[in-house]
């Protein structure tokens, strides 16, 4: 994990910083609440929390424009909140209720929003990568300047279909940003135990794809890299790879005891690299906000999250007839 460089914040406005703070905090508080509801048995099955990685999606969303698309794996709650999907709709899907984005039929790993150009929510590691390239294929075919963000983890980075996709994306000059969220662990296997490649983004060079490594705990660095990647895509220069150096604080899923790393390692990350604390420091030391201002934001976010939990408990389970709907269009 790279040491964080002093942020160039001279050109970052107060509103922008407050926006990042708010967006990242929403994801964190939402995920903590999801963990709590899981503990109460209100959320079932698999539930993969995004806590620790918030700067990645919030920074990249800041580099996106209306019409851009995104697709990701099963660790998807943060992506949905960051692109403007409602906390209520996401939480109600987690509890399997009719108010959820998939009417309760998708669950934590499978949510979609055409309106927000969010294309899932995919449970097979790596499968979303060609799908993301396909979305960008459609945009190029239709002749617009939209870009697709195809997110995947360090684990998926060893899947064959990722490289099949790299090859075609560069061959066909597709406007897709491949975002490798390297959170250091593929479930319980550290990157060091799964590959001898020194870096994941450099593998793109074999196909002629440009890329770079980014401090994924620094939302400003993420945004800057995202803008560069998106500009290259819109200029017709083909795909771009961003390897986000990030860290997940929680286990792989709710049922992961996380014995593959030390408590000290996690604590060190939280205390030294936390993305939300970083922006909080920038806001306070830059004189952009007071402790009281930030407390007020915390309170607002808490209210949004608590309301989503209430909504997710109150929303009814899908009607039994829903078993047989949406199989065919």
């Amino acid at each position: 994990m790279a040491i964080r460089k002093p942020a160039e914040i001279s050109n970052v406005s107060k509103d922008e910083l407050l926006g990042y703070y708010r967006d990242m905090l929403l994801i964190r508080r939402f995920e903590e609440k999801a963990g709590q509801l899981y503990g109460m048995g209100l959320i079932g099955g698999f539930c993969h929390l995004y806590i620790g990685q918030e700067a990645v999606v919030v920074g990249l969303e800041a580099a996106a424009k209306e019409g851009d698309k995104r697709v990701t794996s099963y660790r998807d709650h943060g992506h949905m909140l960051a692109c403007g999907m409602t906390a209520n709709g996401v939480m109600a899907e987690l509890t399997g209720r009719t108010g959820g984005y998939s009417k309760g039929k998708g669950g934590s790993m499978h949510m979609f929003s055409k309106e927000k150009h969010f294309y899932g929510g995919h449970g097979i590691v790596g499968a979303q990568v060609p799908i993301g390239a396909g979305l960008s294929f459609a945009d190029k075919y239709l002749g617009n300047d939209n870009v697709t963000f195809a997110y995947f983890g360090d684990g998926a980075a060893n899947q064959g279909q990722v490289y099949e996709t790299y090859n075609m994306a560069q061959l066909w000059n597709l406007p897709v940003v491949f975002v490798i969220e390297n959170n250091q662990y593929a479930m319980g296997t550290s990157v060091k135990r799964s590959t001898k490649s020194p870096s994941l983004w450099e593998r793109g060079a074999a196909y002629g794809i440009k890329g770079e490594k980014v401090d994924g705990m620094d939302v400003l660095a993420v945004k800057a890299a995202g803008e560069k990647a998106v500009a290259a895509c819109r200029a017709g220069e083909g795909p771009y790879i961003l390897e986000m150096d990030t860290y997940r604080y929680r286990g792989h899923s709710m049922s992961d005891p996380a014995k593959y790393r030390s408590r000290d390692e996690v604590e060190k990350m939280r205390s030294e690299k936390d993305a939300i604390e970083h922006v909080r420091d920038l806001l306070l030391t830059g004189g952009h906000a007071t402790d009281e201002d930030l407390k007020a934001i915390d309170k607002d976010i808490k209210a949004v999250v608590n309301e989503s939990a209430e909504f997710a408990k109150e929303s009814p389970e899908p009607d039994l007839s829903e078993l047989w709907t949406d199989i065919y269009a």
């Binding site: 209100l42 279909q161 061959l171 049922s255």
Partner: protein, 457 residues
């Protein structure tokens, strides 16, 4: 306000656990994310984190306690200023949030793939007196694609050798010249990748036709076909459809060995969310492929290399399609029903000719689509003939014929005068040697023998 900390469920199956160790004590101030306790589940020892900030008012369950049910209060968190006394006044009570298990009281008849009592579509496929012309299956498939590409500029073809090479089996011959490389896309040899890209393109608003050089190679891509294309509409609560056609030759060609000779009809027909088509004649190949390209769902279109060069009469119409789920009766008969599809129809029809010479009148039904299946036409026929033989080229275990037999047993048991016989390929990988290959495939002679057997002749 004091809040209860409840015993958490830490895996999809956990109902109770052991509170192994407290890592905080009464009076401690805790932050959200701080580890409160270690809890042993049936699988592992897990760390349990605080969700809210506060002060540990009281630990309700001593460490070392086993069999603590999920959702039992294990501690109380208070805010600054609150005393433990306030907490004691609020008697903690375990919340019972038993998830409701819904009764499966939906009738099985609403299963999309299950037998349904419906009205048979007995209308002719094209108007009587329509001019006909002779055409190969290959030409019919090409015409279908070309016509649909002319009619909808979001339809494009992608696959190996579909463009400059003019198609490995020449199905796409001439399409690159007419539509250009934007719409006739040559891919590298990378089935998993391009199938996924095509699925993404369909989510993104296009209508891809993916040609697999053979369906054997689609096994590299089957995750994208089933997990991504077939299931996403359901998983998205109806938001995200996948209008795509996967097509190419399927089943045995001749002397190409085990890895290039498999019929996947039964595999794909098992999947809700897919539609599965397997035409026999050129007219059906054309009408069904046009229908497949227009369908808003993922369609598996199973062709056959041996059939590509065969000629049939095709109606001369500007635009004709054949609906899915409508079987075709090729020959009417009163003595036995032969149900087949795809190349199996060759053996079924040949057998029926020969049987007629011996005085056995077979009714021959071409299913044409395997999802949906036209059960009604089969059942009506069996109720008339009281006997049935199914013919297909795929492996025998879990075959389409097995499924048809089960349906007949459930819906027309009392009409049967003999057990249904399922003819299929033999239960062996396809051998290369000419004599063994012949033995592995279903034959006209086997159909004749089976029909005589069910007719007790």
């Amino acid at each position: 306000m004091a809040t209860q900390v409840l015993m958490p469920a830490l895996s999809p199956t956990m109902e109770e656990g052991t509170l192994a160790k407290w890592l905080v004590k009464e009076g401690d101030t805790v932050k959200s994310g701080q580890i409160l306790a270690e809890i042993e589940t049936d699988k592992a020892t897990m760390e349990f984190e605080a969700v809210d900030e506060g002060i540990i008012g009281k630990l309700l369950i001593a460490e070392g306690t086993s069999g603590v049910k999920v959702n039992t209060p294990i501690a109380v968190l208070v805010e600054e200023g609150e005393s433990v006394g306030d907490v004691a006044a609020e008697a903690p009570k375990a919340k019972e949030e038993a998830p409701a298990t819904p009764h499966m009281d939906v009738p099985a008849a609403t299963v999309p793939g299950a037998p349904m009592a419906g009205k048979r579509d007995t209308s002719p496929d094209w108007p009587e007196g329509t001019e006909m012309k002779t055409m190969t299956v290959r030409e019919a498939l090409r015409e279908a694609m070309a016509e649909e590409m002319r009619g909808n500029d979001r339809v494009f073809l992608m696959g190996e050798e579909v463009g400059e090479y003019q198609g490995a089996y020449k199905i796409s011959q001439g399409l690159l010249d007419e539509f250009g490389p934007k719409r006739v896309v040559d891919t590298p040899i990378t089935e998993h990748g391009f199938a996924g890209i095509a699925v993404g393109a369909a989510f993104g608003g296009l209508n891809p036709i993916v040609e697999f050089m053979t369906f054997n190679f689609a096994m590299q891509a089957i995750d994208q076909i089933i997990n991504s294309a077939a299931k996403t509409l359901y998983m998205s609560g109806g938001q995200m459809g996948c209008p795509i056609v996967f097509r190419g030759p399927n089943g045995a060609a001749a002397r190409v060995g085990a890895q290039h000779s498999q019929d996947y009809a039964a595999w794909y027909a098992q999947i809700p969310g897919l539609k599965v088509v397997m035409p026999y004649s050129a007219a059906d190949a054309k009408g069904l492929l046009k229908q497949a390209i227009r369908d808003p769902n993922p369609v598996i279109f199973l062709e056959n290399e041996i059939m590509y060069g065969r000629s049939f009469e095709v109606p001369v119409l500007d635009d004709f399609t054949i609906p899915f789920g409508k079987a075709r009766i090729w020959r009417e008969g009163k003595d036995v029903t032969i149900v087949s599809f795809g190349i199996g129809m060759t053996y079924a029809l040949e057998a029926a000719e020969k049987l007629a010479e011996e005085g056995i009148e077979a009714e021959v039904i071409d299913l044409r689509t395997l999802r949906p299946i036209d059960y009604e036409t089969v059942l009506e026929s069996v109720k008339k003939t009281n006997r049935c033989v199914t013919v297909e080229e795929g492996f025998p275990v879990g075959s389409i014929g097995n499924h048809i037999s089960a349906t007949i047993m459930q819906q027309a048991f009392d009409y049967l005068d003999a057990p249904v016989i399922n003819l299929a390929g033999k239960d062996v990988p396809m051998p290369y040697a000419a004599n063994l290959e012949k033995l592995a495939l279903v034959t006209t002679a086997e159909v004749i023998e089976a029909v005589k057997s069910v007719c007790y002749r």
